[in-house]
């Protein structure tokens, strides 16, 4: 038999059509159609036969949902093996493809199914099927992360061909925001054999999606549309599109370059017969220009022009960040991410290398959670290949790896990771002998790295080179070598480049001037990706100015619109560290406003300024006891009397927290807080807005809050209790169903000997319910909670 690879992409091949629709027609549709492989063997084999007779090249096994998440407790081995046997019963020359669909549960962090759990579920299917089928089709995915997980499960456990399709809608992306080009980039880099779209819409509505795939996907493209969108009537799906109209658009797709045609919901053997007219035709050649591209799940970022990589999540030389990583206070990192995105970074560096921390575990956690907070693609930055692998594995998109170098061992460790996870790699022009002095030597290492990548099957467009910035104060003559090397790499190797810019100015006065001057020189020599602090206005302005002066009219407009005003030279550094706090400022001048008034009105920037002002004349404790606490009491009383409402209460609390933060810096260590509270939304609940309100209120009263987040396992709460010795534990639940989880959590904690009082709150809780689940206390809202805790600690 000719292999799939010998035909795929050369001659047009035909997939079968809908399975559910055929089951419905035969009156045997059920909730778990995969069980029909055991109970209704003849009908299942007959459906396959009807598609074989219609002329398909590929038969899809009836295993779409045969996974342990959708079918817990079922004998999957039996179901899948039977499905394969039935697909083979009438086959002649057709390839049997094991069908794998989504698991029906959203992956963490949006949902609660972890990547590893999902991986195990897919792997189980792959192991059962791999020796009995000709390949796999991963289809109807709407979440890129889940599809990546499924593809890894196939690639890591067998070497059969694998096709992947996603479902896009008329917005031009999947339900989770992934565009066809993002999907194509990741799937192609990770080694899918054919890539496409299925289900979704009727063929005509798919035209823009198919066109985008044809433009960006360098692998054979597969298209399996629905027979339009059905009306549902008394449990039946009613479709109106005819096979003739269906086939007409499919023929257009074929002429445009689609290599594999098939059908999804609503199609039947007549539809497949109609499109089988294209079978065996030569697939028209397409020209796909590959660029250097990284992505998140929702952002496609070609690394061309100038792209800013935000350097703020890298502990080198940043004391606060180091501390945050040591304490696993990732909220601090996430806020840095948000700040950089607001400051128009294009991607973010993530480096968590702090001694005595588990950088592998931390990288996994941070990469996963950042995906919920920022849409920007990430640069996974570590000298530890295990941390790089953790970052790449759990990242949702095409990451940039920083870095590989000219050392052979290093390449042997990093390139297989890049290959498997489809990453772009940044190569540093150094090796065992350190950083060479001349541009020529650095260029030679760059060449060696690019060749090394090629030997692992990583194409040149997935490589970038960093020619390494040296400090002007210590090695002044070498600065120009970095720039010369940049020019050589850009011109002769044709790859994109990166530099960590601010290294150049260590030990120099007015570092910013040196940095921005060097940045301009580097850009003029071909630099693509400066790694800088995007919150620095001078640096960002330099980029805008550079682009504007290069002559593109759009860049001139961008300069006029985006340039950040820097009033005087003296103000420049301050103007740079900017916007978030300044966002909430009053129209009144601080001098006309009291601190109390600023806090009450939720004016963050004013509260900060006025606290600093107050500290000039008053000792810190007096500012707390004589101004902030009475203000909070007043705000609380207004809230209870319904003179103010939730948004105002929160605004005031946030402003007060800012004031406390200013005062905290006056004390030597971070022990200035009143007490510690551990907060968590219980397992099974992802609605954490109530818990976050409690957090803000407690922080405004000067408490240290350990926030364990949402969907928190009971074990994590116990660990936090041991680690932080809190004064109180607060649990939140939104729904009746999650109150059960709360009860379980409390029973577990008490059983484990936790003696810290456990308080509960949330929309459905009442005092009676709280007693029933053996909570130590209940309060109706955040304010009552903090007041209760204040009383206890008195």
């Amino acid at each position: 038999m000719i292999t799939i690879h010998e035909r795929l992409g050369h001659e047009v091949m035909i997939f079968d059509g809908a399975f559910g629709t055929e089951l419905e027609k035969r009156g045997i549709m059920s909730k778990m159609p995969e069980l029909l492989n055991i109970t209704n063997k003849d009908e299942i084999a007959d459906i396959h036969r009807s598609y074989i007779e219609a002329g398909c090249d590929f038969i899809t096994t009836n295993t779409f949902g045969a996974n342990r998440i959708k079918m817990p407790g079922e004998d999957l081995k039996c179901v899948i093996e039977s499905a394969i046997e039935l697909a083979k019963r009438h086959r002649t020359t057709q390839y049997v493809m094991c069908d794998i669909g989504p698991l029906g549960k959203m992956l963490y962090p949006m949902g609660e199914l972890t990547f590893d759990e999902a991986y195990e579920a897919f792997k189980e299917m792959v192991l059962i099927a791999k020796d009995k089928v000709d390949g796999f089709i991963l289809e109807t995915f709407t979440d890129l992360y889940e599809l990546k997980c499924a593809l890894l499960a196939v690639k890591e456990n067998c070497d059969k061909p694998v096709f992947t399709t996603m479902t896009f809608d008329n917005t031009g992306h999947t339900l989770t925001g992934t565009s066809p080009r993002i999907m194509a980039e990741l799937m192609s880099n990770m080694g899918a054999d054919a890539i496409g779209v299925n289900c979704s819409l009727g063929p005509r509505d798919l035209i823009p999606i198919v066109n985008e795939l044809l433009q960006y996907c360098d692998k054979p493209v597969l298209v399996q549309p629905n027979r339009g969108i059905p009306a549902l009537h008394n449990g039946r799906a009613c479709y109106t599109l005819t096979e003739k109209d269906f086939a007409m658009t499919m023929a257009e797709f074929q002429q445009a370059g689609v290599a594999v045609l098939g059908g999804c919901c609503g199609t039947n053997p007549d539809f497949i017969r109609a499109i089988a007219a294209n079978k065996g035709k030569t697939v028209p050649e397409r020209k796909v220009v590959k660029q250097t591209v990284i992505t998140s799940a929702t952002k496609y970022l070609p690394l061309d022009g100038i792209k800013v990589c935000g350097e703020r999540i890298n502990p080198t030389g940043k004391k606060k960040l180091k501390e945050a990583i040591l304490n696993e206070d990732f909220d601090y990192l996430f806020k840095e991410a948000i700040k950089q995105e607001e400051a128009k970074a294009d991607l973010l560096d993530v480096n968590l290398g702090v001694p005595k921390t588990d950088d592998v575990a931390n990288m996994k956690k941070v990469v996963v959670q950042l995906s919920e907070i920022t849409a920007l693609p990430l640069q996974i930055d570590s000298s530890n290949p295990a941390a790089i692998e953790a970052g790449c594995r759990y990242y949702n998109g095409v990451p940039l790896i920083n870095s590989v170098n000219g050392n052979a061992d290093n390449m042997a460790k990093v390139f297989p990771i890049a290959k498997k996870y489809g990453a772009v790699v940044l190569g540093l022009t150094m090796d065992d002998n350190g950083i060479p002095q001349t541009a020529e030597e650095r260029f030679a290492i760059a060449e060696r790295i690019i060749d090394g990548a090629a030997s692992y099957g990583i194409a040149r467009h997935r490589m970038m080179i960093d020619t390494l910035t040296l400090t002007c104060s210590a090695q002044q003559p070498l600065v120009k070598e970095t720039l010369r090397a940049l020019r050589m790499v850009t011109d002769k190797l044709g790859v994109k480049t990166a530099l960590g810019v601010s290294n150049v100015s260590f030990g120099m006065p007015n570092r910013e001037l040196i940095n921005s001057s060097f940045l301009l020189m580097a850009m003029e020599n071909g630099l693509t990706m400066p790694i800088i602090n995007p919150c620095n206005a001078t640096m960002m302005n330099s980029i805008l100015a550079f682009k504007a002066l290069r002559g593109n009219p759009e860049d001139l407009n961008a300069y006029i619109e985006d340039v950040i005003p820097v009033t005087t030279m003296a103000d420049a550094p301050n103007a740079a560290t900017n916007t978030a706090a300044a966002a909430v400022t009053s129209a009144v001048k601080p001098s006309e406003l009291s601190l109390k008034e600023a806090v009450k009105r939720g004016l963050k920037a004013d509260s900060i300024a006025l606290t600093k002002e107050a500290l000039k004349n008053q000792p810190p404790m007096s500012v707390i006891n004589d101004i902030l606490i009475p203000t909070l009491n007043e705000v609380g009383s207004d809230f209870e009397k319904q003179r103010i409402f939730l948004p105002q209460l929160i605004s005031a609390s946030e402003a007060c927290k800012e004031a406390f933060d200013v005062i905290k810096t006056m004390f030597d260590q971070g022990n200035s807080h009143k007490g510690t509270i551990v907060l968590a939304t219980v397992k099974g609940d992802v609605h954490d807005i109530g818990k976050n309100i409690v957090k803000v209120i407690f922080e405004s009263y000067g408490y240290k809050v350990i926030d364990l987040g949402k969907d928190t396992p009971k074990e994590a709460i116990k660990e936090a209790d041991e680690k932080y010795h809190p004064d109180i534990i607060g649990l939140s639940a939104l729904m009746t169903t999650t109150v059960l989880s709360m009860e379980e959590t409390i029973a577990y904690l008490k059983g484990q000997g936790v003696t810290t009082p456990i308080y509960v709150g949330g929309a459905v809780l009442t005092r009676v319910l709280a007693d029933q689940i053996h909570a130590d206390g209940y309060t109706k809202d955040a304010l009552e909670f903090v007041e209760t805790v204040e009383k206890i600690s008195e």
Partner: protein
């Protein structure tokens, strides 16, 4: 929509609305509208489902109707993502955004239902009303294939995206919202002050 949003935020009869909250609502309305990807699927039936037969409240609601639609609707996952991030940036606005998004999905669903080609559709009856079980959300979702518009369920029965609903819409007949069979009847804060969760409070503000 503004009054509904304020009601979610705890504003009651005769409360005065402050300018700051109003401007947060303005901002949230714009942003929620921009981020929303409204989707709605429905299925027509002229006979009751098994799960409906177990609860008189469903049958009361459908009394005298000429069939009904099951529906599922959502404004999409981008709203959830934004809310997550806002909670790190600005909690006061996050709370307003959350309330606005909740009201917005109801509003769009109402508008969508007005355009459906059926005469005299009733109000949307969602699982949880009148003591009906929240678990029925999943049953309705399966029947209308809500997974096709991206709705999934956590083990606890919560829906993702968070601003999603399933419901039943009666065709013809009539029935009004009532507190009669509500689980919260005895403890309801709205009732205690003479309001209902489905009535609109009078608020004091120059802009409303």
């Amino acid at each position: 929509m503004r009054v509904e949003i304020l009601k979610y935020l705890g504003y009651q009869q005769n409360a005065t609305v402050d300018a700051q909250t109003e401007s947060l609502i303005d901002r949230a309305l714009l942003e929620v509208e921009k981020l929303s990807e409204f989707k709605y699927v429905h299925a027509f039936y002229d006979y009751p489902q098994d799960f409906m037969l177990k609860h008189q409240a469903y049958m009361d609601y459908l009394k005298g109707s000429d069939g009904y639609l099951l529906c599922a609707t959502t404004i999409g996952i981008a709203v959830d993502r934004r809310l997550k991030r806002l909670q790190m940036e600005d909690m006061a606005y996050a709370v307003v955004f959350d309330a606005t998004a909740g009201v917005y999905v109801e509003h769009l669903a109402d508008e969508y239902e007005k355009k459906l080609p059926y005469n005299s559709l009733g109000f949307r009856f969602c699982p949880g009303y009148a003591g009906t079980p929240l678990e029925d959300n999943e049953k309705i979702a399966a029947l209308v294939k809500a997974n096709k518009i991206g709705i999934s369920f956590l083990d606890s029965g919560l829906m993702l995206p968070m601003k999603s609903m399933t419901g039943i819409v009666r065709i013809g007949g009539e029935s009004r919202k009532s507190c009669k069979d509500c689980v919260a009847f005895s403890a309801c804060a709205y009732r205690k002050r003479g309001e209902t969760c489905y009535s609109q409070p009078q608020l004091l503000t120059p802009n409303l």
